[in-house]
């Protein structure tokens, strides 16, 4: 089945892309990897008259480290992020989450910037980027700015991006020294699905003690957007990581989530699974186990 026809512009610079979005008639959409946009066009959920492709824009691809920060070009694919030695060494949480996205074929196409601009609620990567407190670099008709990822997601598939703005890069600060991090994903149907619930966490233990000095928890599939779980984080901060503390944090995460019902599972089921998977991830991080995929 053919896609509904659209015109295509293929600018060579970010400035030209911004101009191309604004120029011409009808609805324009950006296309990066196409893993989200093309199915939406096919299903008739969007009907753009023009696509502006980012494929020929120079400088949007690649991974680099700048003053201890990780810089990801918006067109960098999940597969690239997953395999990059600097990401695996310094930001293992991000490599782990990127490696859990869908299937190898989708990971070789889907891009970091595209996923953020799409604001997928059940994203694997967004909970990790929320925990890592990434900054999202944006270019638009009024220049460039950085949107803290905590302020990017505004509602169901809705972001703080202004009309005509383009995500150009993601800047990820270094993890605090000694921090433990992990991502777990629970799929109710098949392994390559979006997560019914995805949980990312960063824990920093107090120096020389067993108390938790800092906790960050990011959730996917738990609300209309990817979210942090501040009540769960406060339940952990400054506390000894006992089973009871972890259970309280998991309970808090389930309570503060605002899950939706869909074909993957009901809101009630999601809430229960948030409790289970937050608890399991925290217990594994406490034990110092490297968390890969689904913990036991």
């Amino acid at each position: 089945m053919r896609l509904r026809p659209f015109a295509l512009s293929e600018p060579g610079t970010v400035g030209e892309a911004v101009a191309a979005l604004a120029a011409g008639d009808g609805e324009a959409r950006l296309v990066a990897g196409g893993t989200a946009l093309v199915p939406m066009i096919r299903l008739g959920l969007v009907a753009p008259d023009r696509l502006v492709s980012l494929h020929r824009v120079a400088g949007l691809r690649g991974v680099s480290t700048v003053h201890g920060h990780l810089e990801l070009g918006a067109m960098t694919t999940y597969g690239h992020v997953e395999r990059h030695p600097d990401v695996r060494r310094g930001w293992p949480l991000l490599a782990l989450a990127a490696g859990r996205v869908a299937s190898p074929a989708v990971r070789s196409m889907g891009t970091v910037g595209g996923n953020l601009a799409y604001a997928e609620a059940a994203s694997d990567v967004s909970p990790a980027l929320l925990c890592l407190e990434a900054g999202v670099r944006v270019a638009g008709p009024r220049g460039e700015r950085t949107v803290p990822i905590g302020e990017l997601f505004r509602g169901f598939y809705e972001t703080a991006l202004e009309p005509g703005e383009i995500v150009t890069a993601v800047r990820v600060p270094a993890l605090p020294a000694g921090a433990r991090s992990g991502y777990v994903k629970f799929c109710s149907r098949s392994a390559e699905d979006k997560p019914l619930v995805g949980v990312a966490a960063v824990l920093r233990m107090a120096d020389g003690g067993t108390g938790c000095a800092e906790a960050r928890i990011g959730l996917g599939g738990a609300a209309p957007t990817p979210i942090r779980a501040p009540a769960a984080e406060s339940a952990l901060r400054g506390a000894e990581l006992t089973d009871a503390t972890i259970a309280r944090a998991a309970e808090a995460a389930a309570a503060e989530a605002e899950p939706l019902s869909d074909v993957m599972g009901s809101a009630d089921y999601r809430r229960r699974m948030i409790r289970v998977w937050v608890r399991r991830l925290l217990a594994d991080l406490r034990a110092g186990r490297a968390v890969v995929g689904s913990p036991s």
């Binding site: 492709s53 020929r56 196409m109």
Partner: protein, 160 residues
């Protein structure tokens, strides 16, 4: 609206004019008469249209044909060498790793990427059943023939 796209197709230069709203599978099947690549869900989920772009698996139903510019596309028609099936294809035939055959081209391409990556990255270490299943997780077989497919890929990996 059309665009001219130059790319490498199964090792040979290719230049086509293609409508801007065509995806790679439209181009392969309806312009280039390469019907080995099968269309399935059209949403990137079933894996039957899997091709390799610059050596990495990609969904032909999701990728705009215009985005092939400057890249190397490998389809199932490009697997054989000098008229002989590739060892992976031989292994599929020998292990009976096909029933209706509709998912087979996509399975072959996903497995080809896995084997190439494994050769480059993990010299000397045997490919595991789990690695094969993970690499093929995005390719559905509705005849439920997964066991034979996994066996065939493992056999090809070990040179058996």
């Amino acid at each position: 609206m059309s665009v001219t796209v130059e790319f490498s197709l199964n090792g040979r230069p290719c230049c086509v004019e293609v409508p801007t709203h065509w995806t790679v599978i439209d181009l392969l099947r309806d312009r280039l008469d390469l019907t080995g690549t099968k269309g399935g869900c059209g949403e990137g989920v079933c894996g039957t249209c899997t091709v390799l772009v610059d050596g990495e698996p990609a969904r032909a139903c999701l990728m705009l044909a215009a985005h092939l510019r400057g890249r190397a596309l490998l389809t199932v028609e490009g697997l054989e060498r000098d008229g002989a099936l590739a060892p992976l294809q031989e292994a599929f035939a020998r292990h009976g790793a096909a029933q209706c055959g509709y998912c087979t081209p996509g399975m072959l391409m996903a497995a080809t990427a896995l084997l190439a990556g494994h050769r480059d990255g993990a010299a000397g270490r045997a490919l595991t059943d789990g690695q094969v299943r993970e690499a093929l997780a995005g390719n559905l077989c509705r005849c439920t023939g997964y066991h034979k497919i996994v066996e065939a890929v493992l056999a090809a990996a070990s040179g058996a």
